[in-house]
Symmetry: C2
């Protein structure tokens, strides 16, 4: 499979695939007689996993660490596992934050829809703050 095909199948752009190889996220690909990358379908599984790491917010520098361990292979399992466990915990924490914020969004939306069209105060601009009216305080258009 050449890079264009892999791009289609993986959802990454060819540019991004080359970039990932350059930085070491993807293993250096075999080249055919014309120096063109020739991929085995098995790379798709790795790319999909990378996508999971990215989706869950792992920074590239950490993915690189993981990828390097993976390439070293045997003997690195414990460390890889620890990385994933730490990452999973961060993802769980992030998930909890998102859920909390989602609740806030929901109640805010409910506020807009509520029988009482008036906001629960914390949305309306505070009634023209004008404390310490010192000097010429023009409104300054933005």
């Amino acid at each position: 499979m050449k890079i264009g095909e892999l791009a289609k199948r993986s959802g990454l752009s060819a540019h991004t695939i080359r970039y990932y190889e350059r930085i070491g996220l993807l293993p250096y690909a075999d080249r055919d007689s014309s120096s063109q990358r020739d991929y085995d379908a098995s790379i798709l599984i790795w790319i999909e996993f990378l996508g999971r790491l990215r989706t869950t917010g792992m920074p590239i520098r950490d993915m690189l660490r993981y990828a390097a361990l993976r390439e070293r292979g045997a003997g690195t399992e414990a460390e890889r596992r620890e990385m994933l466990e730490r990452h999973r915990d961060r993802v769980r924490a992030h998930l909890a934050e998102l859920e909390a914020s989602l609740l806030v969004l929901d109640s805010k939306i409910a506020g807009y829809a509520g029988p009482d069209q008036r906001m629960k105060d914390y949305d309306a601009t505070p009634p023209v703050r004008r404390r310490k009216p010192v000097g010429a305080r023009t409104a300054r258009a933005r």
Copy 2:
């Protein structure tokens, strides 16, 4: 409240607070006789809400739209509500993606811990791909 105090209380840096004002996320703050910003505690509620939007991944340009509507005040409720509803839907979708990826992480971790120390294949580096062995294919150290 001056900017340092607000920074402490809001968790934003003073730099970031000024930046937010500059771009329009925070309303232009009243200045005291020495041109120093003087905040009303009510701003904290708005900043906290901005934090929710940021946590849930809303781009600043969208927050700006929302902030502008908020400042226009009356008559913009419907649009603000629609924005939040669309955003909420995106957050829910993202949440679902995260949860799916979390499952993958969990099973991957389980694989590392499993009774069978051998990976379910898709983690081990594929057994030295060497298809189309054309030309001098040096391993090229990385």
